[in-house]
């Protein structure tokens, strides 16, 4: 019974969502819209679950003073601060006047605080993490990108051609460089990519059918049949 009901729900909804693709009737579309709304509610609820999970995972580690527990304190304070100003600030840019209530004033200042935290804390931190890639790629290029065999040599040459092809210097060295880069992307790359895409799509269909038919139960905590 523990798995029978979820399997029945999976079967019914799975079959319905496949069939609606081929049945453009109004009633079917209405039902699909309803299911999609349920999906949105579930997806939004995942945010709350995520927040609870972060607290559940980190608080015991802080209590036990595990290694790097100080960072976990920073994480929780930052998450709570962002959530607090975000929730209180709301969506609208609030203005204040002499007649503003305390709640309106707090909303206005929370919005400002949210913008400040986003622009001056989150955005620079987020960009910094991504920017570090440039430094590590340069280091990795020097130490690891070696023409040890034929395949590695081909990859190395292709990488150098594509890198030159996307910068103006490549075009300055040889006018055909951008065309060569486009050829590599549109033929060599696409041939491999499309093969992977078609393979993955067929795999997706097979896995989907196994889930709908109840042959794959690992997502329910069960076994494969």
């Amino acid at each position: 019974m523990r798995t029978a009901i979820p399997m029945a729900v999976t079967f019914f909804l799975g079959i319905f969502m496949i069939l609606e693709f081929f049945i453009p009737a109004g009633s079917v579309r209405t039902a699909v819209s309803l299911f999609q709304e349920w999906g949105l509610v579930l997806a939004s609820a995942a945010f709350v679950l995520g927040a609870i999970n972060v607290i559940q995972v980190n608080i015991p580690k802080i209590r036990r003073r595990e290694p790097d527990w100080e960072y976990k304190v920073v994480l929780l304070i930052a998450a709570l601060a962002m959530a607090f100003v975000g929730l209180l600030g709301g969506r609208e840019k609030h203005t204040t006047s002499v007649d503003s209530t305390l709640f309106e004033l707090s909303q206005a200042y929370s919005r400002e605080a949210f913008e400040f935290l986003y622009l001056h804390v989150f955005a620079p931190a987020n960009s910094t993490m991504f920017s570090l890639l440039a430094f590590f790629i340069a280091s990795a290029a020097f130490r690891a990108f070696r023409a040890r065999n034929l395949e590695a040599s081909l990859m190395l040459i292709t990488a150098v051609v594509v890198m030159l092809g996307v910068i103006p210097v490549g075009e300055w060295l040889w006018s055909g460089m951008p065309e060569l880069t486009d050829w590599i992307l549109n033929y060599a790359n696409n041939a491999g990519r499309r093969a992977i895409l078609v393979g993955a799509a067929l795999g997706g269909v097979a896995t989907g059918l196994r889930v709908i038919l109840g042959l794959e139960r690992s997502h329910l905590g069960g076994e494969r049949h």
């Binding site: 693709f21 579309r29 699909v32 819209s33 999609q36 709304e37 999906g39 949105l40 997806a43 939004s44 995942a46 945010f47 969506r91 609208e92 913008e115 986003y118 622009l119 989150f122 955005a123 620079p124 987020n126 960009s127 993490m129 991504f130 440039a134 430094f135 790629i137 340069a138 280091s139 290029a141 020097f142 130490r143 690891a144 990108f145 070696r146 023409a147 190395l156 990488a159 150098v160 890198m163 030159l164 996307v166 910068i167 103006p168 210097v169 075009e171 300055w172 951008p178 486009d182 992307l185 549109n186 790359n189 696409n190 990519r193 499309r194 895409l197």
Partner: protein, 288 residues
């Protein structure tokens, strides 16, 4: 000498990369570059838009991808505005709303409405929020939202980001599904983004769809070009190409300068690493 170079402290490489990034920003060099057919296709499509047609831009990136995608997104907004079209912004990324709001504030209101920057001396005071452009906000749900937009746009986005009902927004009066947009562009740095639009709605509803992505994701999207995605802007280079088509050198072009020196340094590091590797092999063979 070879052994010393092979054991080069990587901080020298970090310093070189820092200089390769900072110096071109301080002393920009203007090198000519051609425009790829993938980028030109988007430009030509916008050029052919009739005035008052509605364009949807899905801003699906976070601050990390801003340097690569924002120059194109802002360029596209300027281009669409110059054609007198209406704009609808959405985002499927929770970190993107402040980015969209800054585009609305600085490009739509700051430049187009007030006649500054790209639209210097040509103010359009009648172009207003709700009548001509709107931001519908962020919606969680990823592919479900995209799929839903194809079926019933208004159910997925019943209000704009401020909470105003779509029925009260004249810009949305003719929009029921994604098919009602003359052009849809997703400027995205990952999932959900252009690939999810292609998989969920583009082929199914026969949409006119273009995309922009970070350079690292371009190879994920080229298999869909030109049938599902008729135009594709890839990373900093694509943004610079679009700026060139629009006739100005903005952040994308400045970024391409940085990219040029960064790529040259990386290529140099690859070559140096391999020269040292082969010299080391030769030396070891001679010793034997």
């Amino acid at each position: 000498m070879i052994a010393e170079l092979q054991a080069l402290d990587r901080r020298w490489l970090f310093l070189s990369m820092a200089l390769a990034i900072v110096l071109p920003l301080l002393f920009p060099i203007g090198m000519e570059f051609s425009v790829s057919p993938m980028v030109r296709a988007i430009f030509d499509e916008v050029e052919s838009l009739p005035p008052k047609s509605t364009v949807m831009i899905s801003v699906d990136y976070d601050p990390a991808a801003q340097p690569e995608l924002e120059p194109f997104t802002r360029g596209l907004v300027r281009h669409v505005l110059s054609r007198g079209c209406r704009l609808v912004f959405v985002t499927l990324w929770d970190k993107a709303p402040p980015i969209v709001l800054s585009i609305l504030r600085e490009v739509v209101d700051g430049e187009y409405v007030r006649g500054r920057g790209y639209f210097e001396g040509e103010p359009h005071p009648d172009y207003s929020y709700g009548d001509d452009y709107v931001f519908l906000g962020f919606k969680e749900g990823k592919q479900i939202v995209i799929n839903g937009m194809g079926q019933n746009f208004r159910q997925m986005w019943p209000t704009d980001w401020r909470g105003t009902a779509l029925d009260d927004l004249p810009v949305m009066e003719s929009i029921q599904t994604l098919r009602d947009f003359r052009l849809i562009v997703s400027s995205g740095a990952g999932a959900p983004g252009p690939r999810e639009y292609v998989q969920q709605v583009v082929a199914r509803h026969g949409l006119r769809f273009a995309a922009a992505s970070t350079a690292v994701s371009v190879t994920d999207l080229t298999p869909y070009y030109p049938n599902q995605i008729f135009g594709l802007v890839g990373g900093m280079r694509g943004s610079a190409e679009y700026e060139q088509l629009l006739g100005y050198a903005g952040q994308g072009t400045a970024g391409l300068n940085v990219l040029t020196f960064g790529q040259l340094l990386t290529i140099g590091a690859i070559l140096l690493g391999n020269v040292l590797y082969f010299l080391g092999l030769l030396r070891a063979r001679r010793r034997r």
